[in-house]
């Protein structure tokens, strides 16, 4: 095979792996949108907050230490212990559940039956609040996240694919972290599917996503389902936060992965879980391939920032309901 084709293939594979992350963030959006009709603008910030919390717990940071030091004149820096990664992940999941309960108690409960735009605005407010709250709780500096996931290119894949090409081709370069992320995402999706198909709570969740009134009439508590669904979205955000944070450090820019999820949602539809996954993969692969084949050689590069949106917009024109979304039929 000509090397050029192999490099394109490598770009496509790496794109797929990046797409897994986009899919994860999009999944968080879809879960909440499906069950409560809310577009949760804060989903990206949730990923940042989850990653910050994870790092904070692992490093034994005292939460709100700057605040405490400023008020009481203390010199707190940390508890002086380090929490094992697994335990820290479990504790962070707990924090995300508490966050979900707080969101339901303090926001959702008071805004039921308000127009969608009000709820959307509320999540914008929530996003900026969470951003500041995360800084206040764990500090604003850039943090390194290392939960012990393998990093760097896989030599095994490189060695075993080198023969495909000529002298200029050294084998596919695939980051092991991306492979781990893909496996984690797959496990998460399988787990979520099993949960929604085979448990009472999952069945209730599907019911609420389908029709609120009918769900109430069979005895489902909407509040409970909201807490459940925001908790799950929080856990999905944590997984995305771990993967992204391990790669590029935990900092404000992490919350911007939400922006990558938007075109994925436009492509996959706001209510489809398979749509979020396939959409993420298409966007991830599409933007890497476009950059490799057209962007870098002809357009001066850096097309990854906007290509996803162009792709999504084009798609919107021809199929506004998204890949798997329900067909939109105007009722008259």
């Amino acid at each position: 095979m000509p090397d050029q084709v192999l490099f394109a293939m490598e770009a496509a594979i790496n794109g797929l792996m990046a797409g897994v992350l986009y899919a994860l963030v999009a999944l968080g959006f879809v879960l909440i949108f499906k069950s409560s009709g809310i577009f949760n603008y804060a989903q990206g910030v949730f990923a940042l907050f989850a990653a910050l919390t994870l790092v904070g717990i692992m490093e034994g940071q005292v939460p709100f230490q700057h605040l405490i030091n400023a008020i009481f004149g203390t010199e707190l820096h940390g508890f002086g212990w380090e929490t094992p990664a697994i335990l820290a992940v479990v504790l962070t999941v707990g924090v995300m559940v508490v966050l979900a309960i707080a969101v339901e108690r303090l926001i959702l409960r008071h805004l039921v039956n308000q127009p969608d735009i009000i709820l959307f605005m509320a999540t914008i407010g929530l996003a900026y609040f969470m951003e500041g709250f995360g800084d206040l709780m764990w500090g604003a500096d850039i943090k390194k996240l290392d939960v012990g996931l393998p990093q760097g290119g896989s030599f095994w894949i490189e060695e075993n694919t080198a023969w495909l090409g000529g002298d200029g081709f050294y084998g596919f370069f695939i980051d092991r972290l991306d492979i781990v992320a893909t496996i984690a995402a797959a496990i998460l999706v399988i787990g979520l599917t099993a949960f929604s198909q085979f448990t009472k709570q999952g069945r209730a969740l599907r019911a609420v996503a389908d029709d609120h009134q009918a769900a109430l009439s069979v005895g489902i508590s909407l509040r409970f389902i909201w807490v459940l669904v925001w908790s799950i979205a929080g856990i999905v955000a944590l997984v995305a936060g771990i993967m992204w944070g391990s790669k590029s450090g935990v900092q404000f820019s992490l919350s911007l992965i939400a922006l990558k999820a938007l075109p994925v949602l436009m492509l996959g539809g706001f209510t489809s879980i398979p749509g979020a996954i396939v959409g993420g993969l298409i966007i991830g692969m599409g933007e890497k391939l476009f950059e490799f084949l057209i962007g870098a050689p002809f357009l001066g590069g850096a097309t990854e920032n906007w290509f996803a949106y162009v792709l999504a917009l084009l798609f919107l024109v021809f199929r506004p309901q998204g890949l798997f979304g329900d067909k939109i039929i105007e009722r008259v």
């Binding site: 029709d211 009918a214 109430l216 009439s217």
Partner: protein, 280 residues
């Protein structure tokens, strides 16, 4: 032929046996002085009536009389400004619809509220959510107790499906069904909860004669075989006369009649309310 023709219903709390041999017990639900307003509109104006164990109680009245609002108050979807709801002899505190459902009160809707994206079987299964008790983990991991529970629930659901003769569409997504069948699936979902009190908002609206006959038969059989108490709203007077033990008549939010179908039909105020009012 009318049920109960000429027979007076005793006012006492004692049970009695109907002409067709069913036992009607004491008061199951007592509605006391309910008033419900929407802004300037008084949808329900100081209405009281009771529903006895084992009876089929009809609520009739012209369009906009407040019948659905009454059912919504009973099922917790609307919160009345005034009045009390007594259930099983106890004053019911303000409750959310899901809490009412968990008390053993199931309902259907005038405009059908089904889970359109799910199969008929899944829809009917949701009626059993409150009969599932094993923990999330044992369900997810399909452990012994959860498995037994699932089988038990599945069996009961299949019985309801057989009973309502919808076996042939078990796996069909509800969204694809014709109107008449949707109404039947909605009834199946309500029945699978094994309610003590079943509320039906116009279960036969928009059906053809044959479908109406089927639905009437199902309602009678549910009441007869399971002893389920039923409150239903219906416009078709023939159906009401055939099915119900007692009838409440509403007009402009007020109660203008209450008694056996025979009494109600001969009540002048009721006749006036219906004069010139078209009802399908």
């Amino acid at each position: 032929m009318d049920k109960e023709e000429g027979m007076a219903v005793k006012d006492s709390a004692e049970s009695y046996v109907t002409d067709d041999g069913r036992t009607i017990g004491g008061v199951l639900m007592d509605i006391r002085s309910i008033t419900l307003r929407f802004g300037g509109v008084t949808a329900i104006n100081d209405i009281s009536f009771d529903i006895r164990e084992g009876e089929i109680r009809a609520i009739i009245g012209p369009n906009g009389a407040g019948k659905s609002s009454m059912l919504n108050v009973i099922s917790g979807f609307y919160v009345p400004q005034e009045g009390e709801v007594w259930f099983r002899g106890a004053l019911r505190p303000p409750m959310k619809p899901y809490q009412v459902a968990r008390q053993g009160i199931a309902r259907t809707f005038q405009n059908i509220a089904l889970f359109e994206g799910m199969s008929v079987l899944d829809n009917v299964m949701t009626g059993r959510l409150n009969h599932m008790n094993s923990s999330m983990w044992s369900q997810a991991l399909w452990l012994g107790r959860a498995e037994a529970e699932e089988h038990e629930n599945r069996e009961r659901v299949e019985r309801v499906i057989d009973f309502l003769e919808i076996q042939h569409i078990r796996k069909t997504p509800v969204g694809r069904l014709p109107y008449g069948l949707k109404k039947r699936v909605e009834l199946a979902r309500a029945l699978s909860a094994e309610p003590e009190l079943l509320l039906l908002d116009e279960p036969m609206a928009g059906m053809n004669v044959e479908e109406k006959e089927d639905m009437s038969r199902f309602i009678l059989e549910v009441n007869d075989e399971f002893g389920t108490t039923i409150a239903l709203i219906e416009h078709d007077m023939g159906v009401v006369m055939d099915l119900s033990d007692r009838v409440v008549v509403m007009d402009y939010g007020r109660k203008i009649g209450d008694g056996t179908p025979h009494d109600v039909r001969n009540n002048q105020e009721v006749i006036d309310a219906y004069l010139g009012v078209s009802h399908d």
